[in-house]
Amino acid sequence: MNSDIALSFDTIEKNLKAMAFKRLLYSLISILAIIFLLSSGLTIAENNNAGSFERGISKFFDYPVDLFKEAFESGWRWYAYVFKYLPDLISTINMAFFSTLFGAIFALLLSLFASKNLIKNPYIVTFARRTMDILRSFPELVIAMIFLYLMGKSELPAVIAIVIHTAGALGKLFSEAIENADSKPIEGLQSCGARWWARIRFAVIPQVVPLFISYTLLRLEINVRASTILGFVGAGGIGEALSAVIQFRYGDEIIAIMFLLVVTIISLDYFSRFLRGRLIGDNK
């Protein structure tokens, strides 16, 4: 009897050691792979870069320092620049806000078809999901550039590009939220004779709407960044202003625009986290 236990302890220990060894091996392999990737990648980067890494590092602070110096020298005028670019900033934010809203509406429609618990036909669900995957996969810039080419410089191409990307990205999240909705409230309502609409209204919507809003807020933040970048390639707003002043090398104005952008992004971040925290009751 005792020898049996000892034997089983032996096998347990053996298994444990084998497992630990396997783990160690996997960790070593992945660490080696990461080191290899890093070193070879950085070597490729070094070989194909216009300037070398060391020279770049030494020059890293030159540009920001120059900019700040210029901004400091311009004195009080600098504050005027901040206000000068405020309308551009508002236009960019509006662009992002509108496209997030529009995209969220599309995402909602798509997500209804992509949720297994609402649509019983698996082909429709798969089709809707693949559609969203494709919409999501294109970087906004690719779509925006093509539309910019096809319809000239305006804000519209950027809006279309962001709407397309947002519809795909949010649609996926929305459909997952719908699929993960607890079925017990629905059953409860069904048991007391509620109709389909009443079940949706009182059992599904209260569960998913806070999630929807919080995802949309998160998207809004991402889209403000995206619409700035799209402005940079010709879609108007503060991005275009930034690209112009960078070409003309107006250091003080560059700093003013960057300041506006950073303040916007940080305050948006805090604002959306605050709202999301209130909506879904945690601060993640």
């Binding site: 890093l38 950085l42 870069n49 216009a50 890494f53 970087p139 810039l141 093509i146 996926k172 991005g239």
Partner: protein
């Protein structure tokens, strides 16, 4: 008594419900007003007007078709040549089967698949037999050297809608696949055909016209096409050096973009994790360090990737480093903040359990905290890898290089739409591959699907 209570509750519920409805209606109104205002502001109804239909149809056509240019100068009508996409180097040495030269009549006929033909004569061009019209149109030059349509001088409005005669140019487009342009100096016919011709081997290659499978078969063929070089190497070299599709530059640019994303994310996670430990209150007792790191994360994150890439562009010049560091800096901030929050949210009990066995601080963190945060760390890193693949394309277009820059360049030249489409499809495939791979890895490593994507 009971009734009264129920009544009160019912009343309260009804009042609340009314309030709820009012708020809902008001917000719906605000929402609608904003939507309508914005639709007017962004000029969505003007979309149709702005939409450049010619450009769009050319763009679409170029994506799935290729064309041959047949050109005749009025001054030397005997010299008619056929060029692939009108390129300078891509002149057909042998006439394609649809081009028939008749030396006695001094005519050259371009046949189309729908039976229509354009016939070149030294003094005129005829359009015959197109399914759209039975009429034969004749295009000539007048005394001043301006093109005109015979029998329609002064009656240009009677011409069919797909024909346009202006002072210096007559343009004929019976369908998307045929096009004739008559100028004072030359006549040009574009003949479209479906497909991406010369995708595998280019026009001047010894393997011209071979398909993918033929290429593969040739690789293992013993009879050398070029005695200097083995077939295997020849096929690779010719494919790689394709002058029309530029496989070498495009594919290398794609690899560069992927490298940017992967290395940027890798550096961000390697740097971000230790910093996150230092920024968590249950690991670092010193509040000054924590405060400093928190603000650092905020700064890294708040300065957008766009601004970082502009700064790095100045320091490193266009190239991989710009992209890698722009991504790494932004995401160090994001990952650091996320991970420090995750570390703070870990269960205390595991750490205490390990402490009770007498383990030192490092071991406590190693076995008490890391196993708890590892799934979050891996899934977040993979998620950022996905979104950074897209971001790397975008940063590339802003000047950091890679496929983004090539894409922008091809789009700006405005006539190589098949290359634009090729790169767009390549980006789509790469992004989808990375997405699927990271989803697989995530499932493999942590066993559950992450929903934060």
């Amino acid at each position: 008594m009971n009734y009264a209570i129920t009544h009160d509750i019912t009343n309260e519920v009804e009042i609340k419900h009314k309030k709820h409805i009012r708020v809902l209606i008001i917000s719906a109104c605000v929402f609608l007003i904003y939507l309508i205002g914005s639709i007017i502001h962004f000029n969505l109804p003007g979309l149709a007007k702005k939409w450049n239909n010619d450009r769009a149809s050319m763009f679409m056509l170029d994506i799935y078709a290729h064309k041959d240019h047949i050109k005749m100068n009025w001054k030397e009508p005997e010299k008619i040549d056929v060029r692939f996409e009108g390129g300078y180097r891509e002149v057909y040495k042998q006439d394609p089967s649809w081009l028939i030269r008749d030396n006695q009549k001094k005519s050259t006929t371009v046949n189309f698949e729908n039976g229509g033909k354009f016939v070149f004569f030294p003094d005129r061009v005829e359009m015959r037999n197109f399914p759209k019209t039975k009429e034969t149109f004749v295009f000539k030059l007048n005394q001043q050297g301006k093109p005109y349509v015979e029998n329609y001088v002064g009656k240009e409005e009677l011409l069919p809608s797909w024909m346009r005669a202006t002072e210096n140019k007559v343009e004929v487009r019976p369908s998307l696949y045929e096009r004739l342009q008559v100028y004072g100096s030359k006549v040009e016919v574009h003949r479209y055909e479906l497909g991406w011709k010369y995708f595998w081997f280019d026009f001047n290659s010894p393997l011209e016209g071979k398909g993918f499978f033929e290429g593969i078969a040739l690789m293992f063929d013993k009879n050398r096409i070029d005695p200097e070089i083995s077939n295997f190497n020849l096929v690779i070299k010719e494919f790689w050096g394709n002058e029309i599709w530029h496989h070498d530059t495009v594919l290398f640019a794609m690899v560069e973009t992927l490298l940017m994303a992967i290395l940027g994310t890798l550096i961000a996670s390697i740097v971000g994790l230790p910093l996150a430990f230092l920024a968590a209150y249950n690991v670092t007792p010193l509040s000054s360090i924590r405060f400093f790191l928190r603000r650092l994360f905020d700064m890294l994150r708040g300065i957008d990737m766009l601004i970082w890439s502009l700064i790095f562009l100045r320091a490193f010049g266009p190239g991989l480093f710009t992209g890698i560091f722009a991504i790494a800096f932004t995401d160090t901030g994001t990952l650091g903040k996320l991970m420090s929050e995750a570390i703070e949210n870990t269960d205390k009990k595991e750490k205490e359990g390990i402490q009770s066995t007498g383990a030192n601080k490092v071991l406590q963190h190693r076995f008490g905290i890391i196993p708890q945060i590892m799934p979050i760390f891996i899934s977040q890193s993979l998620y950022y890898l996905e979104s950074n693949t897209r971001a790397a394309v975008i940063i590339g277009a802003m000047g950091a290089g890679g496929i983004g820059l090539h894409f922008l360049g091809a789009l700006m030249t405005g006539n190589d739409f098949e290359n634009v489409a090729y790169m767009a499809i390549l980006v789509l495939i790469a992004v989808m591959c990375i997405d699927t791979m990271s989803a697989k890895l995530r499932r493999l490593l942590i066993g559950i699907e992450d929903k934060n994507n």
